[in-house]
């Protein structure tokens, strides 16, 4: 018996019935099935691989920090999932549709063997596609964008991680295809139906939101046009789906139906665990935080507001209350995190805070991302109890696009605490003092000059600030004015004379706690252009150009403001790359507190005074350090202002990102092991983040998160 079956693959073209037999070796059943699967899947695989590689190229060409780039990053694994579903459906449903299953079934191999060969081939193709896509990145790096080794490593880890998800998609598609229409009908009934209901409910919610909010006619027209478009698109999709499933298309349409089924399965397989995971994982205690944003500690140091993001379909973020004593976190929002701000303002006792919450949550993030004009602009002024996280609304803010033109915009984020139970906020032409428990309000209306103000650029207040709260605005004619308010005074109590002839655009940065001094930034017009710092006496209206003052002294050149007033209102925290010190308001001289030969990149994040002003925290980075190699080059020191003695408190081998005082005795440190890539802000999702509480001496530390 001849064993030369191999010859059949290369028949000699000698006309009909020509010579067939050539020497060769017959392959095994496994190889034959692998060859058959490869031949059947290769076109789809190649097409999807090309698409994935195109996405990789697009990622590399997209601007490094653009939203488009982040979206494209997510597109690539999505394509992998689509590839898994399409290959799976094609392998199984395709065999059933063409009834070649009966031919293959008659071969002397078990059905189980054929099934696993199919799965193996598709899984192999997926794996190869993923590696090729990942490995294709250096090939397209000609655009000059660097790509660090770490990123490759992370990418391959990501491949490994997502491969399981792809196999899940593949298996589901295969099972659905293998079991035929019964399974599809079940899936449609059990999953597609509720999805449709949820989607319709969501659209209904948006519809009523649009009706309820007083949108402008133009904005409302855009919304209703969107409803009509989405409704039509849904209808068309449903009709297409119905036709594809009930009709028996031939040729190309058969492939369309198969692809639609595959994509459908993939969406279901991807969406259901995502939605379930979202609710299960993040409903109560948040999952491992991935991207911490600056903390906002309460005055007593017990709580801190923080914000972090996590990747779930797309980048989401949320605001949390962190209890530093027991590491408990409370999620303030689930859906409308985009509208929350972590820079809430704490009450003097540190038990609650006020914040502004945008109502743009009514729009799905995808809508507002791609259709920014659909944003309503309305929101709510809220306060929340730090212990419970319960949010209460102080003021519902109507849509900004619907109100009549006004010289003074409604700026509800200009708000502060008057005392532990009274909140002050700007509304219309005045300041409202509102008791959060009783709801009682007292309005201080602006006087004529204040109403003429072009824009209120700052709003700072506390009981200590001269017994009132203060606002600042610059006027049309170039002047500026401060206004002081008290709840027991019906009229604005202080209006300062114009204090600068050509003020230009300016903003209030800080007011000293004794209410005597204000610090402003202003921008000179061209050709002198640039930001300048002004010190203004609220008592006399006298101004001092701090930058000019500093540059006049040779020893103080390069010194700049890196913090606000000291708690005793006697100085301003200043420094340069190697020096940190206090600039006295009385003597207008710089007094050195700490210096480092290694150098320090000084900004408000890494140099701050404790609440009492007795201690200074400074974090230093080597001068040559940069984002690509910061790890191990950091050192945080606390300096006693009185004795000017410094001692290290945090020498993190694992990195550092932010420190905040928790009272005078403890520090909250956000530690992150940075990876060596300049694109830290774009994809820092797999880093080792942790939050620590360290005592002032650096002798003890405890991990708070995660």
């Amino acid at each position: 018996m001849s064993q030369s079956g191999y010859a059949m693959a290369r028949p000699a073209a000698q006309g009909q019935g020509g010579r067939l037999a050539e020497p060769g070796r017959r392959s095994s059943p496994f190889r034959a099935l692998v060859w058959k699967e490869w031949r059947e899947q290769r076109l789809i695989w190649a097409a999807l691989l090309a698409l994935s590689l195109a996405a990789v190229v697009a990622v590399r060409l997209a601007p490094a920090r653009s939203d488009l780039r982040a979206d494209l990053w997510l597109l690539i694994p999505t394509l992998w999932g689509g590839m898994a579903a399409m290959l799976g459906a094609n392998a199984f449903a395709g065999e059933r549709e063409t009834d070649t299953e009966s031919f293959a079934g008659a071969l002397p191999v078990s059905r189980r063997f054929r099934f696993w060969v199919k799965i193996g081939v598709i899984a192999g193709l997926l794996w190869i596609a993923q590696l090729l896509t990942a490995g294709g990145m250096p090939a397209v790096d000609w655009s000059g964008q660097s790509l660090a080794y770490d990123q490759y490593f992370r990418y391959y880890l990501y491949v490994s991680f997502t491969f399981g998800m792809l196999l899940l998609s593949l298996t589901s598609a295969c099972v659905a295809a293998w079991s035929g229409t019964a399974m599809m009908a079940l899936i449609q009934t059990a999953i597609f139906g509720p999805c449709l209901v949820l989607w319709t409910a969501w659209m209904g919610k948006l519809f009523f939101a649009v009706v309820q909010y007083e949108f402008s006619s133009a904005l409302r027209a855009r919304w209703f046009a969107l409803f009509v478009s989405v409704g039509l698109a849904q209808g068309i999709l449903l009709l297409c789906a119905r036709w594809l499933w009930t009709a028996t298309p031939r040729g190309f349409l058969r492939h369309v139906r198969r692809a639609a089924a595959a994509v459908f399965i993939f969406v279901i397989v991807s969406a259901v665990p995502s939605v379930a995971g979202y609710f299960l994982v993040t409903a109560a205690r948040p999952a491992l935080p991935t991207l911490w944003h600056p903390f906002n500690p309460s005055p007593a140091g017990r709580y801190a507001l923080c914000r972090y993001g996590w990747l779930q379909g797309w980048l989401r973020d949320g605001v949390y209350i962190l209890d530093t004593e027991n590491s408990r976190t409370i999620q303030l929002s689930r859906f409308h995190e985009n509208g929350l701000r972590s820079d809430g303002i704490w009450s003097p006792d540190g038990s609650k805070f006020i914040f502004y919450m945008s109502d743009d949550w009514a729009c799905p993030p995808l809508f507002t991302h791609y259709f920014p004009r659909l944003s309503s602009g309305s929101g709510k002024l809220c306060w929340a109890d730090a212990a419970t996280g319960k949010i209460k609304v102080l003021r519902s803010v109507p849509s900004s696009v619907n109100k009549l033109p006004s010289s003074v915009e409604l700026k509800y984020w200009l708000c502060c605490w008057w005392d532990d139970h009274t909140v002050a906020f700007r509304e219309g032409h005045g300041i409202v003092f509102k008791d959060i428990h009783t709801g009682a309000e007292r309005v201080c209306s602006d006087n004529r000059e204040a109403r003429a103000g072009d824009e209120f650029s700052g709003f700072i207040g506390a009981r200590a600030t001269g017994g009132g709260i203060w606002t600042f605005g610059y006027l049309h004619n170039g002047g500026g004015a401060f206004h002081g308010y008290r709840p027991d005074a019906a009229e604005a109590s202080v209006v300062r004379p114009r204090w600068h002839k050509d003020l230009g655009h300016s903003s209030l940065s800080a007011i000293s706690l004794d209410g005597r001094w204000a610090l402003l930034y202003w921008w000179e017009d061209f050709p002198h252009g640039g930001q300048r710092s002004l010190l203004c006496s609220l008592e006399t209206g006298e101004t001092c150009d701090i930058d000019r003052e500093l540059s006049s002294n040779e020893g103080e050149k390069g010194i700049r403001i890196i913090g606000g007033f000291t708690p005793d209102s006697q100085a301003i925290l200043m420094g340069d790359s190697t020096r940190i010190g206090l600039w006295s308001l009385a003597t207008r001289k710089f007094e050195l507190l700490h210096t480092s030969v290694r150098g320090a990149i000084t900004d408000e994040r890494i140099a701050s005074l404790s609440p009492s002003g007795k201690y200074l925290l400074t974090t230093m980075v080597r001068l040559w350090a940069n984002n690509t190699s910061p790890a191990g080059e950091l050192e945080s020191v606390v300096t006693d202002v009185a004795t000017k003695r410094s001692r290290p408190v945090w020498k993190p081998a694992q990195g550092w990102r932010e420190s905040q005082w928790l009272g005078d005795d403890e520090l909250l440190v956000d530690s992150v092991l940075r990876w060596k890539d300049k694109e830290l802000e774009v994809m820092p999702l797999a880093e080792d983040y942790s939050v620590w509480v360290v005592n002032r001496d650096g002798t003890s530390k405890r991990k708070v998160l995660p």
Binding site: S2, A13, G17, R26, A32, K36, A106, P108
Partner: protein
């Protein structure tokens, strides 16, 4: 029959509440062309699929070439040449590719035999399956079924959808293969003229059961149609054993005998004096209609539709 190639005992197949094959017992002797005949939906294909392990057996048992159909179906399929009802091969493959692909699964694949068959059937190995006519595809299927030199060839409605010329040619090939190499052939068909041409022995399946198993020649000899003409009018009463059906006209009767023998004519002449009797051999299809009452190609669904 100890050396039976196929032995079936009380084999049953149910799809939900519907019974496709009901307690069928059967033996197929070696070296014969054994035909399963019956209407569409009678259960022929289900029976064959159970024998080859292509569908699970509900109850009962069967052995093919000594292998258990329920447990050793891979071994059975490796030794049986199977031509399914519809020849759904991979349309993108060439004849050569499909031959090489199939060869990988059969240790007994005979390359020379395959090449000979392709030559004999006048097939072009470089042509893709999708370019072939139905008759050519049927020939490819037969080639694939024969090239591994099976002891048993199972053909499930192999000529369905083929035109008369191709059918004749295809059946001649089967006969020649069976005759030349002494193979056993199990063929199912509702086209009884095809079966009549080739079958040594037939089994009639009706409503999921085997109604009759007999050698074709014996069966044809046993059944006879008689045309009886009366010159003085037909009698009002008539009773005689062995009559399967009787169609009465005023002066003429058409009678089918299922146990026709040499004594039948003298008995009739004595019972019906003066009647003129003419006998005629019956085709397999006529015997089938006489037994079942409907044409073989008509399914139960057709019957309901007609009603």
């Amino acid at each position: 029959m100890d050396d039976a190639v196929i032995r079936i005992e009380k084999l049953t197949k149910r799809y939900g509440k519907q019974t496709a094959v009901s307690e069928v017992s059967l033996e197929v002797p070696p070296g014969k062309i054994f035909a399963l005949m019956g209407r569409n939906g009678a259960g022929k294909s289900s029976l064959i699929r159970m024998l080859l392990g292509l569908t699970p057996i509900t109850s009962g048992g069967a052995t093919v070439l000594g292998f258990d159909s329920a447990k050793q179906h891979v071994a059975i399929r490796a030794r049986v040449g199977y031509v399914p009802e519809a020849h759904h091969m991979y349309r993108w493959m060439t004849i050569a590719e499909v031959a090489r692909f199939t060869a990988s699964f059969y240790p007994t694949w005979n390359e020379k035999s395959c090449a000979d068959l392709i030559r004999k059937f006048d097939l072009d190995p470089s042509k893709r399956i999708r370019e072939l006519s139905r008759g050519m595809v049927a020939k490819v299927a037969l080639t694939l079924a024969l090239a591994h030199e099976p002891r048993l060839l199972v053909l499930d409605e192999p000529t369905d959808g083929l035109d008369a010329v191709v059918r004749k040619e295809f059946l001649e090939s089967i006969v020649s293969v069976a005759a030349d190499e002494g193979r056993t052939v199990l063929i199912s068909s509702h086209l009884l003229q095809d079966i009549e041409r080739v079958a040594d022995r037939v089994a009639l399946m009706e409503e999921s059961r085997i109604g009759l198993v007999e050698d074709t020649d014996t069966l044809k000899a046993r059944f006879r149609e008689l045309k009886i003409t009366f010159t003085n009018g037909a009698p009002t009463a008539f009773n005689m054993p062995g009559v399967l059906s009787l169609h009465k006209e005023p002066r003429e009767w058409l009678m089918v005998f299922e146990k026709f023998g040499p004594e039948t004519i003298p008995q009739l002449q004595s019972s019906l004096p003066g009647a003129q009797i003419v006998t005629r051999d019956m085709t397999l299809e006529e015997i089938f209609v006489a037994l079942v009452g409907k044409p073989a190609g008509e399914s139960a669904a057709d019957e309901r539709k007609r009603a």
